[in-house]
């Protein structure tokens, strides 16, 4: 209760009193203006001040006479003299404005007397105004604390400078810092450079730290980005008194324009708080939670010695409270409420806590319980049990503290006695929460017949019409509010998080990362054991070209919680360097720790062992015998491209052992229509011109096919592709499906100029055809020179005639002898050339035309020789056309001479023919 002067007591004793009230508001210039006189009239119509134990601060609501003519308190009336400080030349600055400081004073005097000594009963700030009806509402001084949001998490009770606790900011990469801030490394796990140390920002240039955490020195300074951090000392574990930490929190989180708030602790609880991180919340919530953990209260209370409201950290006088005042029946009006409700009674309490001084082998504190109960209350009301389970990280970590908490809760909740609500007949401005008052019964008892002693849980002063009336709400003994304990019991306490900590990679001598090569990549394994204090979330995996590369977005491979990562798409055989960066979230802000040392590795190559032994790798196309299938449905490297008759539908891979090459072969089921197409992998080809020759290459395609059922034709195509694998042209070979039995089909194609790749394409000719056919053993190869046939003859050019050249030499007789291609041979006649030679003169004017014949039929290989004068070598050749031959075929050359010019002597002709296979 506020101290009462002798005069106050005398007035109260008189049984009558006069009551005056005035309201002051600070104007824009910082001068308090008395609203009862400032405008030349008393503008205060009514004023209500109320405070309840559950609420952190009192409130005041003031109703004003808005205006008298042009003298207007309304904040939006810019022309009002009140809003210009009665200076027409001053800037518009409303007097009644949000956040303006307000104080309310009362003067209690003998009846019929004017105000004498004023007593301040409220100080706060305007929180709202309403021009309709003209009221404004205020909260007490802690209203500002309720709106100061803690913008940054800080670690408390973890470091001291000159014996005083200092708050620590956890290092954040790319964070912004100011000189004199104390910094706690995020990377401070066992073996980390930041373990057990803290730093101070001693200089800044840009004020922005580097993007990764620096290596923390054991003395001196380190520069990270534009910030210099200087070693201060080692962190502490003993903790600091709670009031010191409360003051730290108040100092660290002042909003713009807020004055300092100094905490007043009449007597210290002697409670040491250990390291914790103050999470982001309103300052008032933060400090109240800390205070309430041991059942203490923190609120603005009037301090007589300094004559002002001060933020006071105090314990309610729970044991044998002093009776502050006793009210006679003439002092209070009719009782409005006198009741008991079981709802807020708890008379048996259990507190579960983690004992910091009794640890399990792995360092985890043992969970213990403290139980207290009030026997008298249990006998009266029955057992009403409640439990508070403190978090692992709670500051309640000893038997003493847990017992104190349990007893506070028990004291506040076990015995309400009664809840009393009444109005006093006179204003009682001296009331404070937790005052312990007695109420005397009347001569004829109405509600009780013995004095009732109860503690104030709420009060309201209402001033109107020259009267101050005080309403009181009272219950049991002094408390911090029974519901506050019961809410904790119901919902559990909010955890206080451990200081944020990242674990990095211990030094180079203890490799924490193993990197092994995989095909075209590598596998990185981080040997990481989670530190229970660390807030590891995931790792950044970086691969760079040099050992000192900077891990940034260009080198990032993955961010994952996994400690193993497969790195792919690296250049086989190339040297690379690997780094990992630990990261986590501090609140919502990403944190990056110190990057690991670079680990060198070489991206792996595939070795022969990776290849399946089943396909014939010596021949093209790949898997031409259909021997391998990854999924058992599709033949590897063969693609069904129409999108309708896919593998397993239009095309079937058959593995019944009836194939020719190995056991597999394929079937084309034509019921899928003519879009059923199958395509091989591409194969590299050489058109012949690209290697400086003027001759095209020839490619031979062989395969086996077996008609299954039905009739119809199909095509075997060779698609020629250019260097960009774009289609140049297609050569087709049409097959009739009517033949039976496995047939070896051979055909040959010459690539067009510019062809660099080819692929095989199988398709049906006509959509309506309905047949089945099996294929096996596709081979595609460039024809290579195999043998050379020489033809020769002595011819008489003087007549037009046809010669049939025979092999054997240049001087063989002219006759139609046709050589037979020996078995086994399948190939092409390619590159046919002739040399002319005469007996008596130049080949000269006679031109000879040569046509190669197979089995007596002309082929497309035609060339001429002649018209070149002189002896050897008159030359002619055909390198473009070719003819397919196989064993048993006969080959001959038809030579036709043409007469031109003067007759000449007979000539010898030598003709060379290259067979390729």
């Amino acid at each position: 209760m506020r101290t009462r002067s002798a005069a106050d007591q005398a007035v109260w004793s008189s049984g009558t009193q006069g009551e005056h009230l005035r309201v002051w508001v600070k104007d824009g210039g910082g001068t308090f203006r008395d609203l009862t006189t400032y405008a030349g009239f008393n503008a205060v119509k009514a004023c209500t001040i109320a405070e309840r134990i559950e609420d952190p601060h009192p409130t005041a609501d003031v109703t004003l006479v808005r205006q008298r003519d042009r003298l207007n308190f309304a904040p939006l009336v810019s022309g009002s003299a009140i809003n210009r400080g009665f200076d027409p030349f001053a800037a518009y600055s409303p007097l009644v404005q949000l956040n303006r400081e307000v104080k309310i004073e009362v003067s209690i005097v003998p009846a019929d007397k004017g105000p004498n000594v004023w007593m301040e009963i409220f100080r706060g700030r305007i929180d709202k105004w309403d021009q309709a009806g003209f009221t404004f509402g205020c909260r007490g001084l802690s209203g500002r604390l309720a709106q100061q949001f803690i913008k940054t998490e800080r670690v408390y009770s973890f470091a001291e400078v000159s014996g005083s606790a200092v708050p620590l900011l956890i290092f954040e990469p790319s964070g912004t810092y100011a000189v004199n801030q104390y910094i706690l490394p995020a990377s401070r796990g066992t073996g980390d450079s930041g373990a057990g140390k803290f730093y101070k920002v001693t200089a800044i240039t840009t004020g922005i730290a580097g993007s990764v955490e620096p290596t923390w020195p054991s003395s001196g300074s380190v520069v990270s980005g534009g910030v210099t951090f200087t070693y201060q000392g080692t962190t502490t574990t003993a903790g600091n008194p709670v009031e010191e930490i409360l003051q730290n929190i108040l100092d660290d989180n002042r909003g713009f324009g807020d004055g300092a708030v100094t905490l007043y602790t009449p007597s210290s609880p002697g409670w040491m708080i250990r390291q914790f991180i103050q999470r982001r919340e309103f300052t008032l919530d933060g400090i109240r939670k800390l205070a309430q953990q041991i059942g203490w209260d923190v609120r603005f209370k009037w301090r007589t010695s300094s004559s002002q409201f001060e933020l006071t950290f105090y314990e309610p006088e729970r044991v044998s409270p002093t009776v502050n005042a006793v009210f006679e029946t003439t002092d209070y009006k009719e009782i409005e409420q006198l009741s008991v409700d079981i709802q807020n009674i708890r008379n048996a309490w259990r507190v579960i806590y983690s004992d910091a001084s009794d640890l399990m082998p792995d360092g985890t504190p043992k969970r213990k319980i403290v139980e207290v109960s009030d026997v008298d209350s249990i006998v009266k009301y029955g057992e009403l049990w409640a439990e508070i389970a403190e978090e692992d990280t709670s500051q309640i970590d000893s038997d003493t503290e847990a017992t104190a908490l349990a007893n506070a809760a028990l004291s506040d909740c076990a015995e309400p006695t009664a809840e009393l609500k009444l109005k006093l007949t006179r204003g009682w401005p001296h009331v404070e929460l937790n005052d312990y008052y007695g109420f005397m019964p009347g001569t004829l008892p109405t509600h009780f017949d013995a004095a009732q002693y109860l503690a104030v849980t709420g009060y309201e002063h209402r001033y109107e019409g020259g009267k101050l009336r005080t309403s009181l709400e009272l219950r049991g003994k002094p408390t911090i509010g029974a519901t506050i304990h019961i809410e904790k019991a119901t919902h559990g306490t909010k955890p206080l998080k451990q200081p944020h900590q990242l674990t990095d990679f211990p030094g180079a001598t203890t490799p924490a990362i193993a990197v092994s090569a995989t095909v075209g990549g590598a596998r990185a394994i981080i040997d990481y054991v989670r530190d229970k204090n660390a807030h590891q979330r995931d790792f950044e995996y970086h691969v760079g070209p040099t050992a000192n590369f900077d891990p940034d977005g260009t080198t990032l491979e993955a961010v994952t919680q996994a400690t193993t990562l497969e790195l792919a798409n690296l250049k086989p055989g190339q040297d690379y360097y690997f780094k990992a960066v630990p990261r986590s979230l501090n609140g919502v802000r990403p944190m990056r720790g110190q990057p690991s040392a670079a680990v060198a590795f070489t991206a792996g190559r595939a070795i022969a062992a990776h290849l399946s032994p089943e396909p014939d790798l010596t021949r093209l196309p790949l898997n031409g015998g259909f021997e391998t299938s990854f999924d058992g449905v599709a033949a590897d490297h063969w693609k069904a491209i129409d999108g309708v008759s896919d593998w397993g539908a239009g095309w079937a891979l058959i593995s019944d052992g009836n194939g020719v090459s190995g056991s597999n072969y394929i079937q084309l089921d034509t019921t899928m229509g003519d879009t059923a197409e199958l395509q091989s992998a591409i194969m590299q080809v050489d058109d012949g011109y690209g290697v400086g020759l003027s001759l095209p290459s020839v490619y031979i395609l062989e395969w086996l096919e077996l008609a299954d059922y039905g009739t119809g034709n199909h095509y075997i195509d060779v698609q020629w592709l250019d260097d960009t694998q774009a289609l140049i042209s297609t050569d087709s070979y049409e097959r009739d499906n009517s033949a039976g039995g496995w047939l070896l089909i051979t055909t040959a194609f010459a690539p067009p100029a510019g062809a660099k790749y080819a692929r095989i394409h199988i398709r049906k000719k006509t959509a309506s055809d309905n047949f089945g056919i099996f294929f096996d053993q596709f081979r595609f190869r460039r024809a290579q020179p195999s043998s050379q046939l020489l033809f020769g003859s002595s011819v008489n050019p003087n007549t037009v005639q046809t010669y049939y050249l025979k092999p054997g030499g240049p001087y063989a007789a002219a006759a139609a002898i046709e050589p037979t291609i020996p078995a086994p041979f399948t190939g092409v006649i390619h590159s046919v050339s002739a040399y002319g030679h005469n007996y008596g003169g130049p080949v000269g004017q006679v031109q000879y035309t040569f046509t190669v014949r197979v089995n007596g039929v002309d082929t497309g290989i035609v060339f001429t020789l002649g018209s070149t004068s002189g002896g050897w070598p008159a030359l002619g050749f055909d390198g473009t056309n070719f003819a397919l031959v196989q064993a048993g075929d006969t080959i001959s050359v038809k030579m036709v001479s043409a007469i031109g010019g003067a007759p000449i002597a007979p000539a010898d002709i030598v003709l060379s023919m290259t067979l390729e296979r």
Binding site: G18, R70, I82, R84, T329, T330, D331, I335, G466
Partner: protein
């Protein structure tokens, strides 16, 4: 002394004031037929305690006054109603350029409020030489912003001596309480919309004090009273009450209201039959 009305509660001329408002005695217009009432009003209260006993928390008792006037000439009724209701505005210039109802200057040139040597209170309006001008827009407008008639009263310091000027909309003027319609008041301008401007074209600074602008014309005999006042005009709408009924040592601050006017025909002494005579019902409250 009242000259127009000598037939109310105070028919004589030598009696002290009965209940004067800003020096204008209301006795001549108070009707003896409906006796004036002087109700008492408690500030604070009396509460019933839980045992039924009465607890007094009174801080003051206020003395109010209600009466009914005799029939008044229409023009005089308007003047008395305006006086009692506290119409108009008073500028003390003690601390600012704002009037008692909050009207500030709408335009100034070299015009300031300063301590000076005030006629009353703690400050004066000072207009600089040659250029000083101050305008109070709408100062002479009545309630609701209508402008009909006016009376402007101000103290003007000339050669170290304060002189009191009264100017009405019909051209009646008083200098130091003496009717002097020929007095030059070119330095005082009231426009057709009720803006009041004071200008100083003289070669020296000019001080003014205790400006009163009323949205009605005063009854002529008031000029002789206001012009020789020894204290400042009241801070309208508050009024200064004095007289026999005011028993406090100091002036009582009151505020008044005319709750109704009764219109009647009458023939006052010396007049023909007047069909627009009015009786006022007056309430005066102690502030």
């Amino acid at each position: 002394m009242p000259v127009s009305y000598s037939y109310g509660l105070a028919p004589g001329t030598s009696l002290p004031d009965w209940y004067a408002i800003n020096g204008i005695d209301l006795a001549p217009i108070a009707s003896a037929k409906d006796l004036p009432q002087e109700p008492k009003r408690d500030i604070g209260g009396v509460e019933d305690a839980s045992d039924g006993s009465k607890v007094v928390t009174r801080i003051a008792r206020k003395l109010d006054l209600t009466f009914t006037s005799i029939p008044l000439l229409s023009a005089d009724a308007v003047a008395f109603e305006g006086l009692i209701c506290g119409l108009g505005e008073h500028w003390s210039f003690d601390t600012s350029l704002y009037g008692s109802k909050g009207l500030g200057p709408s335009g100034t040139i070299d015009a300031i409020q300063t301590a000076g040597t005030p006629k009353f209170g703690a400050g004066v309006l000072r207009l600089s030489a040659t250029t000083g001008t101050i305008t109070f827009a709408g100062a002479a407008q009545g309630p609701g912003g209508t402008f009909r008639k006016y009376t402007v009263m101000v103290w003007r310091r000339e050669s170290g001596v304060w002189h009191h000027y009264i100017v009405t909309s019909s051209g009646h003027k008083w200098l130091d309480g003496v009717r002097a319609d020929g007095t030059s008041t070119t330095w005082l301008v009231v426009t057709a919309v009720g803006d009041v401007t004071i200008v100083n074209t003289a070669g020296a600074t000019q001080d003014y004090d205790d400006l009163v602008v009323l949205p009605y014309e005063i009854v002529d005999y008031w000029g002789e009273i206001f012009g020789v006042a020894t204290s400042a005009f009241s801070n309208l709408p508050d009024l200064n009450a004095s007289g026999l009924l005011v028993t406090e040592a100091t002036t009582r601050i009151v505020t008044g209201n005319c709750t109704s006017m009764t219109v009647m025909m009458a023939r006052p002494s010396g007049y023909s039959l007047q069909r627009d005579m009015k009786r006022l019902s007056v309430e005066i409250f102690q502030v």
